[in-house]
Symmetry: C2
């Protein structure tokens, strides 16, 4: 299953999000906590499509996405699926205080995780004021994003939804080229876009073609999107 990789000798990747988000040093954890984390965290690598957690299974641990993109999803009894979130590096992933996962998680691309066993993290959280703070902030941010997406699902048209997901991915993964265009390597295919947007594959494809005809984007080989006019895309996103 999981390929265990030896822990980093220095600062574990679990703290990368702290460093990234708070700038410079790790303000959240003291040296003692860092040592405990370093001792217990394991870096694992997963291929695209690999299941990382299954709905209603026991939660084994918490993880920090250090590379790649993870899909979070829920399914109805009859098989209809809805993606409820995308986690990009360096997001924290997991669920404290409930013994079973309310979601499934699957690697969308090649993914690298820094995993922390459940009991270790809960012990750390009980002791460390700073870590609990960090987790609370992440939960509140995830909550805001989920509610933001509820507007997309409840009130936006098909084009607006597709424009919205492109913007979302652009803000998390986009790189600007020489002409100021934004280039994306989509971490998900049309099927996942459809499940994220509450649409069908065909509708997603049609709206992509439409944005292409309108000159807002161009597409190279299905997975690579160039955003020519980010303003126009924003306007198109509702």
């Amino acid at each position: 299953m999981d390929t265990l990789v030896k822990p980093e000798p220095t600062v574990p990747m679990a703290c990368r999000s702290c460093r990234v988000r708070h700038g410079g040093m790790c303000e959240v954890l003291g040296p003692v906590e860092l040592a405990r984390l370093a001792a217990c965290s394991r870096r694992t690598r997963h291929g695209s499509g690999e299941a990382l957690a299954v709905e209603s299974d026991a939660v084994h641990g918490y993880a920090n996405v250090t590379r790649g993109t993870v899909k979070l999803s829920r399914v109805l009894r009859d098989g209809r699926q809805q993606l409820v979130g995308l986690q990009f590096a360096p997001d924290l992933m997991g669920r404290l205080f409930s013994s079973e996962s309310p979601l499934s998680a699957e690697a969308a691309t090649e993914v690298e995780l820094c995993r922390i066993p459940r009991d270790v993290l809960e012990g750390l959280v009980a002791d460390s004021e700073g870590l609990k703070q960090r987790l609370l902030e992440q939960a509140l941010q995830d909550l805001d994003e989920a509610r933001e997406w509820m507007v997309t699902l409840g009130r936006k048209s098909a084009v607006e939804r597709v424009a919205s997901v492109l913007l979302l991915i652009a803000t998390r993964m986009g790189g600007r080229d020489a002409h100021g265009n934004i280039t994306l390597d989509l971490p998900i295919g049309r099927a996942d876009m459809a499940d994220f947007l509450g649409l069908t594959i065909e509708t997603v494809s049609r709206q992509m073609s439409r944005l292409r005809r309108e000159g807002v984007i161009s597409v190279q080989g299905h997975r690579c999107v160039v955003i020519h006019d980010i303003e126009a895309l924003g306007a198109r996103s509702g």
Copy 2:
């Protein structure tokens, strides 16, 4: 604006959620914190339709819903609206660590709040491990509910959505009568149901009529719903 009511002499209502959820005593706050809360919290009463917080306004405080129902919503620039949550008593409401509210909050019914000024709560949180824990749990629960609702918005048909909202309200507000039927006094009208479900008023109304024709529910005077067959309603909710 807000009608200030004198604080309770004994345990402030702000702790009601602790007692309700953890059973019996307040495990979260010690006597010192309780005293600070009691000194600073104010109970306020609001009429149906009154705005409690406005999107992108400064956050003035945190509140505990002690009676009634509050609607949380977001609007798109062109006026399309989406309800992103309903808060029933005794939910905690508010948003730490961001200076402006990401949502609007409005009283759906007559509402009674126990308000705590922002700075007081943040001070308390900094000191009290237990309170931070409690807030984290509430945030995680809200997150689960938001994601659950994303499935409703993204993947369910109109009947399923209406059945879902009736079930949601039933679990939070429903009372059983002598025959085992569940009786609801809807805290929101058809327009708000539509905004919560991502539908139009007319579609909500049609699906209510449909469930009525099918004998799953009956309706008395628009606001009062009797659920005859909760199983069937569950089946109808997807």
